[in-house]
Amino acid sequence: MDLSFIIIQSLSGLASASSLFIIASGLTIVFGVTRIVNFAHGSLYMLGAYLAVTIVPLLLDVDRSLPMFLLGVLISALIVGVFGALMEIILLRRIYHVPELFQLLATFGVVLIVQDLVIKIWGAVEIPGPRAPSLRHGVFIMDQRFPAYELFLIAAGIVVLAVLWLLMQKTRFGVLIRAATQDREMVAALGVNQAWLFTGTLFLGAFLAGLGGALQIPRVAINTQMDISIITEVFVVTVIGGMGSVPGAFIAALIIGQLQAFGILIFPKITLVLVFLLMAVVLVVKPWGLFGKSDAAAGRAILPEGILSLKRFGTVDNIVAGLAIAVLLALPVFGDNYMVKVGIEVLVLALAAFSLHFLIGVGGIVSFGHAAYFGLGAYAAGLLVTKGGLSMEPSILLAPIIAGAFAALFGYFVVRLSGIYLAMLTLAFAQIVYAVCFQWVEFTGGDNGVVGVWPSSWASSRQVYFCVVLAFTLSAIIALRHAIYAPFGYALRAARDSATRADAIGIDVRRIRWFAFTLSGAAAGLAGGLYSFSKGSIDPTMISIPMSVDFLVMVLLGGIQTVIGPLVGAAAFHSIKDFFMPLTDFWRMFLGASIILMVLVFPRGISGAAASLTDRFKPAPKPAVAPS
C-alpha cells in the first residue's frame, strides 16, 4: 500500500462521505425540528434518483452540457422537496403528538407505499443513469487515475455544508429552525406559525434527500432497494453525529466514509458490520451521539402506554382460552393441509409477537429489530440441521439458546440507552445480523438461504409438526405470561414507568432489562427455529426490517395495553396477509396505508378497541373509596 493509493482511497471515502452528509443533513434537520425520525427519508432519496434518471436525459437531449445535467439534478431535488412538504401537510402534521414508535411506523408506511409506486412507475429493473458531461474523464493524482465526478461530489458536499451553515446562522428561517429545535411551543407563543416552519423544514429535508439521490445517478444503477440500504446508513450517520446536529452529521459522515473506504480493503465482506459496530461503540460511550443533546430526546414518550393493569383470568377468560386451545387441538384432526400450515405460521408468529410485546408493553424497550432474534433462531436451527448434521430435536432446543446468547450480547449495549437511540441501536444490531447472513454466502447461502431444513421423520407430517409447534409455543407463551405476573414482571413495569424511581427503591434497572431482553430474544429464537422447519428453508427476509415491522404491527394491531393482544394481532395480521397478498400486486402499498391508518385511528389496537367498547356498555365505575 503506497502513499498515492492511500490518498486515492481516502478521496473516494470523502466522495461517499459527501453524499452521505448531503442526505443525512436533511434527516437530522427534520428530526431536530419535528422530533420525528423519518423512515421515509431513504424513499425520498430513491425518488430523487428515479426522477433524475428520467429528467436529466431529457435535458441532456436538448443540450449535452454540465449545466443542463445540474439543472436536471436540481429540478429532481425540488420535486422531491415538494413531495416532502406534502408529506408533512398530509401525514406528519397529524402525528407530532403521538409516541415515537407510532411515528416510526407511520413513516415506514410511507416507505412501503413509495416502494410500490416506484415499481409501478419505473418498473423493478435497474436503470443505469447518464454520466455527467465534462466530468466523465479521470483526473491524475500522484499518477493514479481518479474519476472527476467523485471530485465534483466532494465539492458538492462542501458547498451544501456552507449553504446550510449560512441558512442556519444568517437567515430568519434558520434561526427559527434552531429555536424550534429547542422549544417549539415557545416559538409558537412568540407568534411564529409552526405549520409553515415545519412544512418548510420538511421541504428542506426532502430537498436534501432528493439532491443526494439525484447526484448518485452517474455512480450507481438506480434500483428499488436503494431506500432501505441508504436509510440504515443515514440512520447510523445521524445517530453517531447526534440527532438534530448538522455538524455532527458532517463529522460522522467523514468517519463513516473513511471507515468504508479502508474497511473494504481489510474486511471486504463486513464493511457494513464495521459501520454498525462503530455506532454501537459510540452510543455506549456517548449515548446521545457525538454532538447530540440528552434533552433533545428525553422528556418524550417513545412508547404508547404499555400494559397498565394486570388482570388475572376470570371464568370467562378461562373458558375463552380453553376454547381457543380446544380449537387449536382440533385443527390437525379436522382442518385441511392448508389450514394446518397457516395454523403453524400463526402460532410461530404469535410467539414472536408475544416475546416482542414482553419487551415493549412490559419492559418499555422498543425494539425495532426483533426479527434479528427470530432470524438467529431460524438460522441456528437451519444451519445445525443442514451443515451441523444434527437432527431436528436438538436443533430446536439450541435455537433459543443461541438466539438468547446473541440477545444477551446485543442487549448488554441496548439497555444502556433509552428512547429513539435505543430503537436505532436495536435496528443497527438487526442490520448487522442481516448483513452477515446476507454476505457470508459460503456459510449462510447469502440471498438464497439454505434449503432442506426438514423435521425428523416422525414429525414430518404437517399434522404432527403442528402439535410439536403447539406444544412449544404454548409452553413458551405461558412461561412468558407467568414472568409478566411474577415479581420480575412487576419490577420490569416499574422500570418502564420510571427508571429513576425504580432505581431508588432498589431495582437494578439495567440488569432486569438485560434479562428481559435476553429472555425475549430466546423466545423469538424458539419461534424462528420452529418456523424454519415449517418452511423447510431459511433466508435473509426472516431477519429483514420488514419482518421486524411485521412483528411491531402485530403487537400494535392486537393492542399494546393487553397481555393477550399480540396473539390476537398475530392471528389477524397473518390471516389478512395470507388472504390478500396473493390477490394484489400492491400488498406493500396496502400494508403501508393500513399501518398509517392504524396509527391515526386505532392506536390501541383490536383488543384496545374491544376494551373501550365493553367499557361503554359497562356501568360507570364507582369512585374509589380510600380505606379508612
Binding site: R172, L176, A179, Q182, D183, E185, M186, A188, A189, L190
Partner: protein, 237 residues
C-alpha cells in the same frame, strides 16, 4: 379608553383529570398593569397558559382586542398583540442573545412605532454588552431580561408576565420593576403574576387575588394593601 383589552369570563382548565381553574373572570384595560396574586399552586400560571392557548381550557368568554381567542392557536393569539413571558423563561439557550430577540420579532400593528434593539438595550443595558453571546452563558437575571425583551420584539399591546421577580437578586428585581414601568409608559398593558406584594404594589394599578383556582378578591392595589384580611388569608405564607 375604558373597554377591556383582555376580558375573561368563567375560565376553567384542567391537566388531564386534575382540575386547576374553576371559573376565573378578570379584565384588563389598555395600558393598565394588573396583578394576579396568589400562592404557589393557586392557578396563576395556568391562567396565563390558558389565555395564550398552551393549556386546554373552556370559558364563557375569552377575548383580546375584541377578538374571541378561545379556539385560536398560540401563534395567532400572539399575533393579535398578546405577548407571553413564561416563568421558566424558556429562552433558546443554543442561540445568541440577538438571535433570541430575532425569534420574537414581529412587525408593529397599526403603524405604531416598533421596538428596536436600541430601545430594548436602553431598558436592559446588560443585554447590549452580550449581543453575540450564547444565551446558555447568561445569569438568571440576564435571562429574565432577555425573555422580556424577546417578547417586546413582537410589539405586543399586552404582556402576560409570569413571576418576573422569582429567584432574582434584589437589585435585579428592581430593574424588573423599572422594566414593567417602562412598558406601561409606552402604553403596553401587563397582566402580572406575582407572589411578591412589594413588587406588585410598586408597579400595578389593580389586583386580583386567586386561590384554589378561583378569584377571591379584586380591587385597586391600594385597596389590597389596606385589606389585611385578604392578604393574610391568601397571600402570606
Amino acid at each position: 379608553m375604558t373597554e377591556a383589552l383582555l376580558s375573561i369570563r368563567n375560565l376553567s382548565a384542567a391537566y388531564g383529570m386534575a382540575e386547576v381553574l374553576f371559573g376565573v373572570s378578570l379584565d384588563a384595560r389598555r395600558g393598565e398593569v394588573v396583578a394576579l396574586m396568589g400562592r404557589n399552586g393557586a392557578g396563576k400560571t395556568t391562567t396565563l397558559k390558558a389565555i395564550i392557548g398552551m393549556v386546554e381550557a373552556s370559558a364563557e368568554a375569552l377575548s383580546f382586542a375584541g377578538e374571541d381567542i378561545r379556539r385560536l392557536p398560540s401563534y395567532r393569539i400572539a399575533r393579535l398583540g398578546l405577548g407571553y413571558v413564561p416563568e421558566e423563561r424558556r429562552i433558546f439557550t443554543d442561540l445568541t442573545v440577538q438571535e433570541n430577540l430575532e425569534v420574537g420579532r414581529r412587525p408593529a400593528r397599526d403603524g405604531r412605532k416598533a421596538w428596536t434593539l436600541e430601545k430594548l438595550y436602553a431598558i436592559f443595558p446588560n443585554l447590549a454588552e452580550m449581543e453575540g453571546r450564547r444565551a446558555s452563558a447568561m445569569s438568571g437575571g440576564e435571562q429574565q431580561m432577555l425573555t422580556i425583551a424577546r417578547t417586546l420584539m413582537g410589539n405586543p399591546d399586552m404582556v402576560l408576565l409570569d413571576e418576573p421577580s422569582e429567584g432574582l437578586a434584589p437589585v435585579i428585581v428592581e430593574q424588573m420593576a423599572e422594566a414593567v414601568i417602562a412598558m406601561k409608559a409606552t402604553g403596553i398593558a401587563v397582566l402580572l403574576c406575582e407572589q411578591n406584594l412589594h413588587f406588585a404594589a410598586a408597579v400595578s394599578d389593580r389586583a386580583y387575588v386567586i386561590e384554589k383556582g378561583a378569584i377571591r378578591f379584586s380591587g385597586t392595589m391600594a385597596e389590597l394593601e389596606a385589606n389585611d384580611e385578604v392578604r393574610e388569608a391568601y397571600l402570606t405564607v
